[in-house]
Symmetry: C2
């Protein structure tokens, strides 16, 4: 009879869990030893737990099924917590396995003892279980898997004590049945169809989650076309399908000032697998709820419902089945030239984005022009920073590349963000992943230069500025990448950047390109106005007009 | 009237908090802006929260007073959790400040919202408080400070909502009075003096915490000499003063097999600011409690009591006031030659350790010979991995160097450990810290090769081995260091290592030396025996003899 760990790896593989992102310690050694018994389970070693959890998030976004993690006790879970937070906000399935001391060791309060369950609840509010008996382990794991895979997806945490893992008497368990996903109730569909008919142009659908995948997008675009309603996407989607041939959807802006303009004048906001929009942070004297006064918020379908089916029902209710939805035309920006800037990096990416790319965007302020520059590129998937916990981009790229080995992955990261989980580069090299990392190296926590203004901090002195400065000493990303076995290039002119990107895209990865750019927001001092004005060209024309009018003196 | 943040930084400085280790985000921008109002508070930026918290731990160990941290919301706390766990186990004071959303923003459940208090309780069981009003903020901070500084020290977490920070109406608050520290009750001292008189040679004092500082060490050595009792130190001390001229105390071994031999035959074990010894991990069929059957455990003083005063009272009760305690003689090993090994690195460190060094030891298996090789070196402080959460060494070195700018710091780290919080190198360079980092680069999670055997895992195949292998691709620590602005050297021969170490110690830091060594434990396969036999020369003679007898067939 197998031990607990042996039965567990077999049960996981039987249930279609194909990958485990690991950073194991002593209490996980039986799980590690059992890996050789199960060829269907791939174990991907990471040098830091935040890479393992971020990879599990990226994997789930692209594979639409969970990977497992393997973390070491409470501190290992702590190290993985930030990216599990992002996964929770992405509503993706993750089977988060955390090793623990043997059950009989816990009362001794040894050095590594801590309360794992409590920490786990933070990111796994729906499922945390410590497996207490070897004979129950696989059943516990399958209940965790069922919880993770339910709609909406979630991080389900299984805590695995060492003796439960090493004891004889493991019993495999069949995979859980997939739970049916309901769609919007007919009366809800009828009600929303009615209000869209009445006030179409003063309505908008706010799309999130599964509503940003192709079938739902097409249905949403038909609804918009038939009713005159606008389409908006949540600010930080887990995964958004976009590009030439797909309906283009404008994302709600990160800056509440911009988002308010986008939502202004709406009488109805219909949520489709999306949450009521709130500002990312609070600011003195400004409301956090972005819904304008007088605008009613309605829900077509909640995250536990089927967004595509609900939207298709709405198409039918509106009699829009024959409408051919508007899609983004194929278009690429020209090849940029001259000294490199964040804008030119975005332009070069739009100029060269390959077919079927997966774009992981953690470029923060530097990626401002990215949506515009890539709107007409070949179809691609965009993964964003769902939970705002930075250090997500490189690990998510690892997971996406493992989920889709035949697709090119681009990880676009700020220099500040990249440094949180840079260890992901090593796993990219180890696994030979086709990832091209672009580091927007502006030597600054640039977004905080904006935020420092926005929160209304009165005087900003040199000590405060130094807290946002990454230039002393400068970070040399080419060396950092080479130190982890990743081929690296550097560019400070647009021509060189384009060549580096072409080089990287033509050859199997991983590659890292350090794009040396000026801190474009350095001019932002007393007011946000100049920044907003500079942002105008990046915005869709009606939004830019509205904003310009509002900002005009 | 100042805002909350301005009053807070002033109150912190008034109370003697001189350093804040930071990784701020938007919700902390008012704290950041207030830094320029308070020249007495030094803000040390880190690129990752685990560096900030580990630095606060190292600082507290050397300064004997708390630094503050400044972390960003729940994910920032998560990233800092592992090193706060180590600080908790070190029982050192840390004022852990975690920024939060504005109080009115929290109900909106914005992207970065999470339950910070619950996570914080894991490392701050004694004090977690969310400050709810600007007028109370400084009082809350001083109560947190008082909790942190009590004996034993602890991590006290103050959660600081953005609006509490930015609102007008901050009121400074005077520093808390230092709480008196009681010492052992006279009847306890008399009882323990009696039992040591009766069964001296079959007794041992187990010293931890403050009992490993000079005054307590001298008193303990006098007790040992007068009574015949042995002296032992806890396995992973927060800070141990040692070297020529100080009483030498043998540490309990990490491996339970070795620790059992150290404790064998004892009739009494007297805890002095130390916990009852338990094995680090559990193993199938082995007890976790290391106290041998028939050995009685007594407590001279608990962590909340004064170890030095309690030991001095015991000296008096034993009439040992005139005893001159035995101290370690000055001795250094010779200069090693030939191909570099972990043992030769330890030898070279013993050969060259400078006066008044601070040695941070996270070398795991590679540092096995370090205690022996440095026992007779000039006086130094040793900081170890108190909580077992790896990634502590480099951050703790940052904190120690800031606490003691006139002392050389040596950070001895395994390659696996170094990669958890390598971002610490950047802060070392930025602050110009006199740290010499030695990376024991054996391309392996070597300790896990041992643990894989010890837990009794049956077959160990190539997939399992790959989980412990850091050699594919190789890590190039010299490049990684240079990428963060740290001067780096590399050695694979003992001669080159000695020269590199001399070079680094003669010049202001930081420096990193990559010591390329073979994976010395690669031979350990089926049994622990060969490893134990190899360890024998590192152990004190009586222990080695006892062990050899036990291991003999």
């Amino acid at each position: 009879m197998p031990n607990g760990a042996q039965a567990l790896v077999r049960t996981l593989a039987d249930a279609g869990v194909e990958v485990c992102f690991t950073n194991p310690g002593t209490s996980e050694m039986h799980f590690v030893a059992a890996l050789d018994d199960e060829p269907r389970l791939r174990a991907v070693l990471t040098l830091f737990e935040g890479v393992a959890t971020g990879a599990a998030d990226g994997y789930a976004r692209m594979a639409d099924r969970p990977a497992a993690t393997l973390l070491h006790l409470g501190p290992g879970l702590g190290n993985g917590l930030a990216n599990l937070h992002n996964a929770r906000r992405a509503r993706v399935p993750v089977l988060n396995i955390v090793g623990d001391h043997a059950t009989f060791h816990a009362p001794l309060d040894a050095q590594l003892q801590s309360d794992i369950e409590t920490v786990a609840r933070n990111v796994s509010p729906g499922f945390v279980r410590t497996s207490r008996a070897t004979s129950d382990l696989c059943r516990d794991a399958m209940e965790a898997l069922a919880a993770a895979r339910a709609r909406p997806g979630q991080v389900a945490t299984l805590i695995l004590p060492a003796d439960v893992s090493w004891s004889e008497g493991g019993k495999t368990c069949p995979p859980p049945a997939a739970a049916p996903v309901p769609s919007a109730a007919p009366e809800t569909v009828a009600r929303i169809a009615g209000l869209l008919r009445r006030s179409g142009p003063r309505s908008a659908l706010l799309l999130g989650g599964w509503a940003l995948r192709e079938p739902a997008l097409r249905a949403a675009a038909a609804v918009a076309q038939a009713s005159g309603a606008r389409l908006l996407a949540e600010t930080f989607p887990a995964r958004m399908e976009r590009g030439a041939g797909l309906p283009a959807v404008e994302r709600l802006a990160y800056l509440a000032e911009l988002a308010s303009v986008q939502l202004e004048g709406l009488a109805h906001l219909v949520l489709v697998d999306a949450r009521r929009p709130v500002s990312f942070f609070a600011y003195p004297g400004r409301p956090g709820d972005l819904v304008p006064p007088g605008c009613e918020v309605d829900v077509l379908c909640a995250p536990e419902e089927d967004a595509a089916a609900s939207l298709e029902a709405l198409v039918e209710a509106l009699g829009a089945g024959a409408v051919a939805p508007q899609v983004a035309p194929a278009w690429r920006p020209g090849r940029p030239r001259g000294p490199l800037t964040a804008e030119k990096v975005c332009k070069a990416l739009g100029h060269l984005l390959p077919e079927r790319a997966i774009v992981v965007d953690e470029a923060i302020t530097s990626g401002l022009l990215l949506p515009k520059m890539t709107a007409g590129c070949p179809r691609h998937d965009l993964l964003t920073l769902t939970g705002g916990a930075i250090g997500q981009g490189l690990p998510a790229a690892v997971g996406a590349a493992i989920a889709c080995p035949d697709r090119p992955v681009l990880a676009l990261v700020g220099d500040g963000s990249a440094m949180y989980t840079l260890q992901a580069l090593w796993t990219m090299a180890r696994e030979g992943l086709d990832v091209t990392v672009v580091v927007f190296a502006n030597a600054s926590y640039s977004v905080l230069n904006v935020e420092l203004e926005r929160v209304g901090a009165a005087r900003i002195g040199p000590k405060a500025r130094a807290q946002l400065d990454l230039g002393r000493p400068p970070l040399d990303f080419a060396r950092l990448a080479q130190g982890m076995g990743v081929h690296a290039l550097r560019a400070d002119r647009a021509e060189a950047f384009c060549e580096a990107l072409e080089y990287a895209l033509e050859r199997p990865g991983p590659h890292l390109i350090e794009a040396r750019i000026p801190e474009s927001l350095r001019g932002v001092r007393r007011r946000i106005l100049p920044w907003l004005l500079r942002a105008l060209p990046a915005l869709p024309a009606p939004l830019a007009r509205g904003l310009k009018n509002r900002l005009a003196p």
